[in-house]
């Protein structure tokens, strides 16, 4: 599990979806980086990720890693947002995980992702829910 400091330093991205766009080629970087992987650019403008997107691909994790046993079966998707950024997120609010499909419109919502036992860190971030 992640330490409190590791969880804390990622709050801007996990809680507020803070990203950047490359000033040279408009690629969206989430999380932000020092170098644009598309063009090598080093100048960026802050943006907030849009919340709406579609499912590019998905799975339902039935043998979960430690920390997720209470959430199984766990639908997870790669979602492409309206500005082209892609995020790996859990799918929430679906009674039947089999109902998820490629191309499904979804919207990111702030949720609890996992928790480190009774007294450890509670990790928050975004999940995708059917739009």
């Amino acid at each position: 599990m992640f330490s409190p400091a590791r969880a804390w330093r990622e709050f801007p991205q996990r809680y507020r979806l803070e990203a950047t766009t490359c000033d040279d080629c408009d690629t969206v970087l989430y999380p932000p980086r020092l170098v644009c992987p598309s063009c090598g650019g080093r100048d960026f403008t802050d943006v907030t990720l849009p919340r709406d997107g579609t499912v590019l691909t998905f799975t339902v994790v039935r043998v979960p890693p430690a920390g997720f046993t209470e959430q199984t079966p766990l639908p997870i998707a790669l979602v492409e947002l309206e500005n082209g950024a892609r995020v790996m997120v859990q799918i929430g609010d679906v009674d039947d995980p089999e109902s998820v499909e490629i191309g499904m419109p979804v919207r990111l919502e702030f949720r609890r992702i996992s928790w480190d036992g009774e007294a450890g860190v509670i990790f928050y971030g975004h999940k995708a829910v059917p739009a």
Partner: protein
Amino acid sequence: MREVAVIGTGLVSFGEMWSKSLRQMWTEAALNALEDAGVDSVGFMTIGCMSSGLFTGQEHLVSLLTDEIGMSGVPAMRVESACASGGLALRAGLAEVASGMCDVALVTGVEKMTDVDGSDATYALGTAADQDWEGFHGITFPGLYAMLARVHMQQNGTTIEQLARVAVKNHANGLLNAHAQFHLKVSVDDVLSSTLVADPLHLLDCSPITDGAAAVVIASVDRAKELAGNRPIVRITGSGMATDTISLANRRDLGELTAVRLAGERAYEMAGRSPRDIHVAEVHDCFTIAEIMATEALGFFERGAGGDAVERGLTALGGKIPVNPSGGLKSKGHPVGATGVAQIVELATQLRGEAGQRQVEGARVGLAQNMGGSGGSSVVHILEVK
């Protein structure tokens, strides 16, 4: 660069080896390779290992293992590229010998995976994915490959039956390999009725948790000629390596394994070969979909045609291009750091014509493809006998 050859191979049997430690398995494999090569000293050693720290609490393998085999003082290098560590260990050894830095090198791979429970093993393997932006959300390795499978099915009409046929083929091959973890005949129905791990992948679409070690001795071709006796000299004619993004979110094309394609192109170019020159291949079937996508990326089949190819038996023993005659990771087992070296052991055995019942008749050119993570790194080698 000098020409380099594989002059000796060594394995330990793969499986859940409760009675054997990392150092014991490694030493057995290394001794077997040295004996097979007919040498008792080497100028350099490489050790492919993904995560002895998380699996056994032990790092600093270069010191531990050179000592264990009575070679303290020999220069050694630990190599890590997740499940491609073994293939990369060969490339590191190849560079050393080809450059003239040494004449004979011992290339090894090892992973001891069953000293931790399944949950800790899953965690250790998960470190090959992007921990901050993939693992944080609960995705697993089967889950990542399941996502790739879903794309492949949607783009190409690949079916879960075709995925299952990879497992059926590789388990059938593994029946002919005494060193394999599983000697288990499976049917398409067996695969499809096994537990769902991450839709659409079932338990029998996945490679297992395995303890194992593998080793090869490589040498300059001049030295190999002195030692070969009557056996054919197995030359390493091509070596290619490529990286790709660690996370799927940053991959522009989810329909191919780009690192595999690039590593393959580089190896073909170095060897002066093309996909149709390959007589036998060991590819990284950590999941059934991975073999299908790898056979496409390596150019054995058109993009999208890999599922159809396995269904038509083109990759079976006796087929157009036999893939994973050893049983592959699926049946032989997948001790992650050892896998890439074990592939070379199988190819050398095939090219020397010593593979017994699973021998690919007339095999003179072989290819091994090893892969890290969800395709974030890949290493391809081409081996040949004249």
